[in-house]
């Protein structure tokens, strides 16, 4: 078991796409529990995150890792038979109204999922009402708002305000991210935290979801 785990972990961490996909298929055929494989792959993604944090990996490496994990998940999903691995917590995520950019949003959503968070992705150009509905429906304790355009700052602010008015603000921590986002924008929008890379989102989730 230890050998299998470390093999998965290393191959994902080293972004060996073909090798890891072959290994996943082979281990599944040999009867290994898909949940165990998924857990092992998540450890590999944690290692990818560490490499990003220490300056060994960059955004393109994270994207490749996310793509590898996505493929592994699609191989394993039909084999899970309704079983699910334990989740670290629920997150609602989307690009705010007036902005259709999805690269940053997709990357963060993929990385959060790969390290065990259950993420409801609302897509792009999302109005505040949809964020509120999703927070209510899922019971998510973290809300992620993404943008690339500065005009989206007001949409973020409106969303935070709408959550306050609806009495949901105290139930959810809000993180914002995207190219122009910084501490000043965080204060302007009334969010709780901000980041300009996927690992920052992972770190905020780890901090906020015990």
């Amino acid at each position: 078991m230890i050998t299998m785990e470390s093999s998965f972990e290393q191959k994902i961490a080293d972004l060996q796409e073909e090798e890891i996909l072959t290994l996943v298929r082979r281990e599944l055929e040999s009867g290994i529990d898909p949940i165990e494989i998924l857990n092992a792959c998540q450890k590999g993604m944690e290692l990818v995150g560490e490499r990003f944090s220490t300056g060994i990996y960059f955004i393109s490496d994270l994207m490749m890792a996310g793509e590898i994990f996505r493929q592994i998940s699609s191989i394993l999903s039909p084999k899970l038979g309704g079983k699910s691995i334990s989740k670290r917590g629920k997150v609602v995520f989307g690009t705010v109204k007036g902005d259709i950019h999805d690269i940053g949003k997709d990357l963060v959503v993929g990385i959060l999922r790969s390290v065990g968070y259950e993420v409801k992705d609302l897509g792009v150009d999302v109005p505040s009402e949809r964020f509120m509905e999703a927070v209510r429906e899922t019971g998510a304790t973290v809300l992620g708002l993404s943008c690339l355009l500065t005009v989206a700052f007001d949409s973020m602010k409106e969303t935070v305000k709408a959550l306050e008015v609806a009495g949901l603000r105290s139930k959810v921590r809000i993180m914002i991210g995207g190219g122009p986002v910084n501490e000043k924008v965080c204060k302007y929008t009334g969010a709780d935290g901000w980041g300009n890379n996927p690992q920052a989102a992972v770190n905020l989730c780890k901090e906020w979801i015990a």
């Binding site: 960059f58 490496d61 994207m63 007036g98 259709i100 355009l149 500065t150 700052f153 122009p180």
Partner: protein
Amino acid sequence: MNGDNEKLYQERLDLIKKAIHVEPVDRIPVIYMGDAFSPRYMGMKLSQYVSDPEAPVDVTVAAMDRIGGFDGINLAGVGRRSAGFGLGRMKMPGRELPEDSVWQVEEIEIMKPEDYDTIIEKGYPVFLSEALPRAIKDMEAFQANMAWMVANAGRKLQDYRNHGYVIISGFGMGVPLELFAGARSTPQFFYDLYRRPDKVKAAMDATMPTLIQMTIMITKMSPVLGSWIGGFRGAPPFLSPKLWDKFFFPYLLQMVEALVENDIVPILHFDQCWDRELSRLRELPAKKCVLNPDGMTDLRKFKEVVGDHMSIMGDVPSTLFAIGTPEEIRNYVRDLVRDIGPQGLLLAPGCDAPVNTKPENMKAFVAAAHEFGKV
């Protein structure tokens, strides 16, 4: 042309050239860029701005005149707006977006993996002719705009000079990485760097001569000093040093050297943080290039590492224009001049003053630039 404006133009041209080549100046030039801000400020709907070929120049010149105090413009757009940089498909105000929304690039896979083979075997122009109809929804309108550009772009851009303004740069083709990332979509392109690196490299090599030739041709046709080289997906936060060294820098160097040989100023319009690779900028020809950062590169570090090897055009952040105060803008410009200027500095918005720039912030920028920019 008004004789006073021509005299003003010549004085400003001389000042800007000195700043670009890091020579002593008696004041720091003040450069405008507010692509979507200009129509918003002048009360024009963005749907009209993108569809009327005369509008980009008319409304930008009018905004510059109304605000006052500018010496030139960074990148001057002309004609109707169509396919995005690197063949990205665009969503337009009044078409897919509300009338007064900013145009946005829709990242979809216009270029397929097999297109690398087309480029390698048949050349970039063949690929471009095949791919354009995939990116452009209305080819007829696109071709009409191209015809308009050929007939009118030079005449229209002359309006800047008629008003005394210098155009720093025209649109350039840049480096292959940015074109491929735009056409493949960013995620797919990054996967390509792992899945088929040799093919990507061969396609880049095959593309480069055309890009250089097209950039020089377009620039020589326009009344501009330089040409933009974009650094977006090629920015260091996106790529490891190994990938950056292989897929970005060699092409940047080739393009810069070709432009300099042709007396065209390379304008390195680099978004994101370039701190990691600042020392590499010293490998580019001395005092011939302009770094045009967006507020995320540490310019104090730039000064230490690059020194007077290259000038800076920037870099008041878009965020500050949108949600900052006039006092914050003033302080930013003051500190920038103190730490980076006066020699080799052109004061300008970092990247671009966004559509929701507060007019009082743009006015504060110009006022501060004149207050602190005197030498």
